[in-house]
Structures are given as structure tokens and as C-alpha cells.
Symmetry: C2
Subunit: 136 residues, 2 copies
DNA sequence: CTTTGTGCAAATTCTTTGCACCAAA
DNA sequence: TTTGGTGCAAAGAATTTGCACAAAG
């Protein structure tokens, strides 16, 4: 079943984003690919089934999604921005060797005590190391 | 007293980096400016007293320092890489409003339980919110 | 109609590289 | 004389922007 497309559409509307074909395609991609893709990867993968898609539209869409809080922007890699549609509490791990970016589940995300007067909207934890595969 | 220059020199040598004038200047800058500057800021501030300095040298030096573990690379801001010479455990906070990047001290940095076989070399936690000034 | 989204190409911005020159060992 | 560091300008890569056209209400 492909309730995925409907889920993608709802996810957009829920955040006040008008669902166009392109936006739904990007949203659906992020929901189904938990690989923390770059804008480039999303574009490249969507292009064959959507050859009129423009890279600018992918960038615009991703910026909109982040702005509205529909997806997370991950800056664990200096070069490229990466995106994640999973908003459940979890942190990210990057393998120094193979470059894979993996999710690590946590019950709840740690936020340290903040000085008085400071408010925190969101927080991210990144770990760098070696993944199971590369540790052999 | 300006033991700072000596400290900068020692810090480089300790990590096997030959201390040149330029490298010491960058190192000293990072030690004395706890502002998490970008490469651009470092260059701009050093340039007046060192007009032969090249931006490429600043970038090369920063890359070398990060590689050797003398300074931390901070990717809390998508656009620019930022650098921090303080290696004590602390996390970073960015004010959504004024853009300031501040240190938050913690006794020890939280690292979640990792799946078996995964090893963690380093981890970073970023918080985004509003600073005390901007909360009024 | 009016508004909003899209595609394309050009422009920007940040960072890296190639190469010639210089300084130190 | 060999090695490594620096400066400069050019190259490269990622992302944004301007503008004209298309789509939808």
C-alpha cells in the first residue's frame, strides 16, 4: 500500500505548506529513505521519475521544510547539509571511516542545564567514531 | 604578560606542528578570542597587524589544527565553519535571534549508550534557542 | 486575475588547490 | 639542497537568487 504519499501530503499540510508534486516527492523521499541524504542525493534519485525537477526546487523545498519544522537539518558533515524527516528523539553518528551516518536511539535527548534567561528550542548531539563494520 | 605567545607555540609543538609566525598568530587568536570565529573573522582581525597574511594560509592552518586535534571544528551554523581552541568539555548554544554562539559548561559531556561494536572518538552537542539578551 | 511554485542559469559564498617563491634545516 | 610553509589567483563545490513561465484558486 502506498499511504506514504498521503502521509507526505498530510505532513506538509499540517505545517501550512501547500503540497505540490515536487514538495510531496521530496517529503516522501525523506520519509522512506532514512539515510540522511544531501540535497544532491535527493535530486539525483528523484530525477529519473521526475525529469523536470530542478535542483533549485529541491533546495527551496528543503529550506522550507526545515523552516517550518517538518524535517531536521543535520550539520554533522562540514561539506554538505543533510536532512532527516524523523523528528523522534535520536542522535546522529558518523563513521570516520566509511562516512555512513546512523541513528542512535535514545529515550530522551539530553539537554544540559542552561543559564537563567536562555531558552532552548532544539538540540542535536553528534558523535564521530567507527561503526561496527569498520571496527573489524 | 604575554605568555600567550609562548602558550600558543607550545600548543602547536605538543601536537607536532612546526610553529610558524602565521600558525602561532592563528593559534593565539583562538586562545584569546573565545568567540568561535570563522576563518574569515580570524583573517580579517589578523590582517592589519600581518598584512602579508593570506586567507589560504588561515584555512590551511585551521585544517591542520583540527586534523591534529588542537582545536574543535564547530558546525552549529550551516554556512560557515567555526573554530574553538577550548578542548574542555562544554557544549555550544546558538541564539536564533542574534546569532551569537555561546559556551555552556557541563561537568562532563553526555554520550548515549552505543550499539555494540561502535566506538566514539568525540561528540558534540548543539542547542539552538534564544539568549538572555534576546529573551527580553 | 492574482498568487504561488517551478525551472533554468547566473551569481554568491565558502573553501581548496596549483604553483612559484622563500626561509629554515 | 631539500623540505616545508606561504601567498596569490584560479578553481571547485554547495547553495541561493532573479526572472519568466506555468499552474492553481
Amino acid at each position: 500500500m502506498d499511504g506514504i504519499k498521503i502521509l507526505a501530503k498530510e505532513r506538509l499540510e499540517l505545517h501550512g505548506i501547500k503540497p505540490s508534486m515536487q514538495r510531496m516527492a521530496v517529503m516522501e523521499y525523506l520519509i522512506t529513505h532514512r539515510t540522511h541524504p544531501t540535497a544532491e542525493m535527493i535530486f539525483t534519485d528523484l530525477y529519473p521519475e521526475m525529469p523536470t525537477l530542478s535542483k533549485a526546487t529541491v533546495y527551496n523545498t528543503l529550506n522550507l521544510l526545515v523552516e517550518r519544522g517538518v524535517v531536521r537539518l543535520i550539520t554533522i558533515e562540514e561539506k554538505n547539509a543533510r536532512y532527516d524527516a524523523c523528528m523522534d528523539p535520536h542522535i546522529h553518528f558518523r563513521c570516520r571511516n566509511c562516512g555512513a551516518i546512523l541513528d542512535i536511539d535514545v529515550e530522551k535527548h539530553w539537554i544540559p542545564d542552561m543559564p537563567a534567561g536562555m531558552s532552548v528550542d532544539m538540540s542535536e548531539t553528534y558523535c564521530i567514531g567507527r561503526c561496527t563494520k569498520c571496527n573489524n
